[in-house]
Subunit: 207 residues, 2 copies
């Protein structure tokens, strides 16, 4: 039952993220998942090379838009939702960890510091970006022990590789932090409140 | 596997809330659920009758403490976690809706307004409160249509009766709001970040 959605509107989520799909599904929406095939590393590298002043928000917005337009090319008429999340700490951008060693290094370098997560969401239709928004949240990681880190990595395994910060706040991530400031959905990677405002404006969900 | 927990520490959750149990379980903790048998209405009525200046935070804190100590009487030595959430809007306290009509009335009176959720968590052991904390978040409900409200109620049914605001942010609640400000876990009813800081201090989870 998805009585909150206009049945004429076809929604597509241009993301392979299970958390994003769960958020939308739990909010009662029906949609197809069609992950984008954009090479994110090329987009990021090009952005930073062409402009030294590129911010974390810029990268998140461009990637969310690029993923949404990429998928909208293959899904005519559908409203395609793209999203991206960039982690920034001490002048450095963090990508998703490549392997478990990388995940451990991410956590060690974020430990005891405050980082920002920049989350962008964009909607495209027939290759045009109709709307986008970016938001940020601030998270302070506590000064955990090496014993904790080993156990945390053992507990989570390769799940850590699916998140830019090597943590899942909806899981064991709460053990890592001493302070979290910001919106629920922005931390999880899909700011639903502004996205739903746009979808209502487009008549895709009930007002 | 719960390698993040000290196996000597027995944790008890003094709450029948599925959301709170899911949060703790997802964070990798093992615990027993033993709901308190305290009559919350009597506690609230007495508090308000005895002190006209009783705030929403006062009520949430006293209820979280009362539930934790109540259950700790039956669970010697266990660290017992109690929690409570009070909704306050326009000078009025809201309790969990009694029935579907009440849920509809709650949503109609919160519509288009900003309300606060006061969430308290307390830990007790052998009838003594060892620690407590309260936090608040602010949520602005959008001016939704009657059509939306009917569909929202149809979609959620009696699930609405399990939450003080007749919404679940982790479900379809995102459709209701235009702005949400505050911590993730505080909205869901169990502020894990300060709770885990206390549990680390007590040696119950790994530091």
């Amino acid at each position: 039952m998805n009585v909150l959605q206009n049945q004429q509107a076809r929604l597509v989520l241009a993301s392979a993220s299970q958390v994003r799909a769960t958020l939308l599904r739990s909010a009662g929406l029906s949609f197809d998942v069609v992950p984008s095939t954009v090479d994110e590393d090329i987009v990021k590298t090009t952005l930073r090379r062409d402009n030294q002043d590129t911010t974390a928000s810029d990268i998140a917005v461009v990637l969310a838009q690029t993923k949404a337009t990429d998928v909208s090319r293959r899904e005519p008429q559908a409203l395609v939702i793209g999203a991206d999340q960039v982690l920034f700490c001490d002048g450095r951008f963090y990508d998703k960890p490549r392997d478990m060693d990388d995940a451990r290094n991410h956590l060690l370098s974020l430990k005891g510091k405050t980082h920002t997560l920049h989350t962008a969401v964009a909607c495209a239709q027939d290759e045009a970006v109709l709307w986008y928004q970016d938001a940020q949240v601030s998270l302070t990681m506590r000064d955990f022990s090496n014993d904790f880190l080993g156990r945390y990595i053992a507990q989570n395994g390769s799940d850590l590789l699916t998140s830019v910060g090597a943590y899942k706040l909806e899981g064991t991530g709460a053990h890592l932090f001493e302070h979290i400031e910001g919106d629920f959905f922005t931390v999880l990677g899909l700011p639903l409140v502004p996205l739903f405002a746009f979808l209502r404006q487009k008549g895709a969900i009930v007002t």
